[in-house]
Symmetry: C2
Subunit: 366 residues, 2 copies
C-alpha cells in the first residue's frame, strides 16, 4: 500500500518541488478521440453503462496510459454522477450531451434534496477508484474529481447543457435564498464525494467550475467562490483528503484568479485565453498552475503543436510548479498521434528548460 | 448645422465632463423587442431590405426615441454591411442569424478583396445617417458604428455565426500572413467607413469587437488590438472623424482592458462579467466607461431592474465619465415597459448620486 510512486512528477509539481521535466496529463484523456475508447463505449451500450461499471471505468481510465507516456491517470467518470445519485437521473442522448430525467423545476424539488449516501449511491465510483489504483500499480498517481457546486447547480436547474444557463442565473437573481440552499447541499455533497474518493485511493483531487465564468460581476464570489472555499476548508480537516493536493479549475473566470489563489487550493487550472505568465502574475506565485495549451492547437500539424507547446512552457518560465495540460478538454476529432507528439515535446523541452535553468542558477551562485 | 444639441449628456460623459445625471442608451435599442420594429421589419420583407432602405433605417433608428427618454440614437444597421459591400453578399434566414453567400474559402478569396467604395457600395448607410440627423433635430447625438477587423474576419471566414469561429482561429494559427493581409484590408475599410459616417453626420463612433475574447493569449494583441490601434491612429488625423469621441467594446476581453485603455479611444464598453469598479481600476481612469448591466436582468421584475441598475451606478461611483448601457445587446424577449423602468431609474438615481457627490465634495472644501 505504501510503495512509492514510480513517477511522482505530478505530485511534486503540484507541491512546487523540482522535477526532471514538466509533468503532463490531458483533460478528457480517456475519451472519444481514442478508437479503443469508442470500441468499449459501444460494447457498454451507453455512457452511463460505461461509467457505472467499475471494470469498464477502470479499463477506459487506463487506455491513454497504455498508449502514451502520461504523468497521471484520472478517474473516468462525469461530474454529473453526483446529481444523478441525488435522484435527478442522468442520461446521454447521442449528439445531445448530458440530460436529467428529473431536473429541478420548483422550490420543493430543491428543498427535498439531500446529500447522497456515498457507499450506497456512489459505490461504483469508489470501486472504480480502487480498481484503477490496483491496476496502475504505482506507475503514476490517480486524480479523482468533482464538479463545483455552482456548475452542478447549472445543469441541475437547466436539466441539460446550455450556452448561458439562464435559468440557473435567474434563480440566483430572483430567489437567492433558494439558490444558496441548493449550493449548501451541493457543497456538502462535493466534500463527502471527494473525501470518499480520497479514502478509496485517489492521490490528487480536482474540482471543475466549468461555468463559473457565466456569473456576472460579484455574483461569482457569492454563488461560486464561497462554496469552493467551504469545500476546501472542509477537506483540510478531512482525515482522508487533508494530505491530498487539490486542483481548482474555474474556466472563463480568469478575472477571479487572484481570489482563487487564496482559496486554499494547491493548484489552479488555467484556460487558454491568457498566458501562464499572466496567470503567475495574477496569482503572485501562491499556487502551482495547470495548463494551458489552446485545445484547437491539437488539430494543427505536428510542428505547430511542438512550437505552441514550447510557448506554453516558456510562458510559465523556469520555476517549479507547472503541470502541462490543455486549457480545456481534448476534443473527439484529435488524431491520437498528435497527443504523442505533444507529450514528447513537453517532456523533451521541459527537460531542456531545466538544464538551462540550472546553468543560469549556477551563474548566480557564489 | 451648428445648432447646439438639446441633450449633450452622452458627449459630455464621453469626455468625462460633469452632467446632471448619467446618460443611458442601449445596444440594439432599435430592435426586435419593440412591436413597432417587428411591424416595419415585416413590411420591408427582409432584414437586408430594412437595412438598405435609408427611410426604413431612419424610422427604425428613431422608434426607441419616440417611446423612451434615451440620451442617444444609434444608426440602425449591421456590422456585416461592410463585408457585404466587399462582395460577400450578406443575408439573414429566420432563426439562423447572418450568413454570407460568398464566404472566404481559399487564399485567392482573400487576396482578391479590396476596400469598398463608400459612395457607391455604402451610400445607403450614409443616406440613413443624414436622414436620422435631420429627423433627430439635435434632440440627442447620433452614434455611428462598425465591427472590428478581427470580428468581421471571423464572420467572413466562417460564413456565418459560430460559437468558436474555429476556422478564423485556424487561419491565424496556420496562415498568419494571409490572416494579416485580410485584417489590413479590413482595418483600412473600417477607417474609411467610420470616416464616411462622420462626414455624413455621426456625432460619436463605436467599434464592436464582439469576438476579441476568443483569441487565445497573446493572439489578441496580434490579431485584434493591433488593428484597433491602427484604425484609431488613422481616425485621429481624419478631418471628419478626428473630433468625434470613439467607444471601443471588446466583449469577453476584460483581461485586455488596460491595454485597450491606451489604444487611443475615448471610452471602453464593458461587458457584464466584471464590475465597473474593477474596470475603472484596470483602466486607471484613463477613459470613460460604458455599461454594464447584465442583459438578463431585463427579464426580472421591475424592482430588481431598479436595484441592479443602482448597483451598476454605485459601482462606477461618484466620478464623471459613465455612460449607462447593458453589457451586451438587449434581447428580443424583453418587455418594452422594463426599458422605461430602467431609464427612469438610471436618470433618477444618477441625479441623486450627483447631489450627494456635490455635498461630499463640499465637506472637503476649505
Amino acid at each position: 500500500m505504501n510503495t512509492p510512486l514510480k513517477n511522482d512528477r505530478l505530485l511534486r509539481a503540484l507541491r512546487r518541488q523540482a522535477t526532471d521535466t514538466t509533468p503532463i496529463w490531458l483533460m478528457r484523456q480517456a475519451g472519444r478521440y481514442l478508437p479503443e475508447y469508442r470500441a468499449i463505449r459501444e460494447r457498454a451500450g451507453s455512457f452511463m453503462a460505461l461509467a457505472k461499471n467499475p471494470h469498464y471505468a477502470c479499463e477506459v481510465s487506463l487506455q491513454p496510459l497504455v498508449r502514451f507516456d502520461l504523468d497521471a491517470a484520472i478517474l473516468f467518470s462525469d461530474i454529473l454522477t453526483l446529481p444523478d445519485a441525488m435522484g435527478l437521473e442522468l442520461f446521454f442522448t447521442p449528439g445531445e450531451g448530458p440530460q436529467f430525467a428529473r431536473p429541478l423545476r420548483k422550490a420543493s424539488d430543491i428543498t427535498a434534496l439531500s446529500v447522497p449516501d456515498m457507499d450506497a449511491e456512489l459505490r461504483y465510483v469508489m470501486d472504480a477508484v480502487q480498481l484503477i489504483r490496483r491496476e496502475l500499480n504505482e506507475r503514476v498517481p490517480l486524480i479523482g474529481f468533482a464538479g463545483s457546486p455552482w456548475t452542478l447547480a447549472c445543469y441541475m436547474i437547466e436539466g441539460r447543457s446550455s450556452h448561458d444557463f439562464a435559468s440557473a442565473l435567474a434563480l440566483c437573481r430572483n430567489e437567492p435564498t433558494l439558490a444558496h440552499h441548493l449550493l449548501e447541499i451541493l457543497a456538502s455533497s462535493v466534500s463527502h464525494y471527494l473525501s470518499a474518493q480520497a479514502a478509496a485511493g485517489a492521490q490528487a483531487l480536482m474540482i471543475f467550475d466549468t461555468w463559473g465564468g457565466l456569473l456576472p460581476q460579484t455574483a461569482f464570489d457569492e454563488f461560486s467562490l464561497r462554496y469552493l472555499r467551504q469545500i476546501l476548508a472542509t477537506l483540510t480537516s478531512d482525515r482522508h483528503a487533508r494530505e491530498l493536493p487539490l486542483i481548482l479549475f474555474a474556466k472563463g473566470a480568469n478575472w477571479h484568479l487572484s481570489k482563487l489563489a487564496t482559496s486554499g487550493c494547491t493548484a489552479l487550472g488555467v484556460d487558454w485565453t491568457i498566458t501562464l505568465a499572466q496567470a503567475r502574475h495574477a496569482t503572485a506565485n501562491r499556487v502551482a498552475l495547470q495548463g494551458n495549451l489552446d485545445p484547437a492547437v491539437m488539430r494543427a500539424p505536428p510542428h505547430i503543436i511542438r512550437s505552441q507547446a514550447r510557448s506554453v512552457l516558456d510562458s510559465y518560465g523556469k520555476h517549479p510548479g507547472h503541470i502541462f495540460n490543455l486549457g480545456h478538454g481534448i476534443t473527439p476529432d484529435v488524431n491520437p498521434e498528435h497527443v504523442a507528439v505533444l507529450i514528447d515535446e513537453v517532456h523533451r523541452y521541459g527537460h531542456t528548460l531545466r538544464e538551462t535553468w540550472i546553468e543560469s542558477s549556477q551563474d548566480f551562485s557564489p
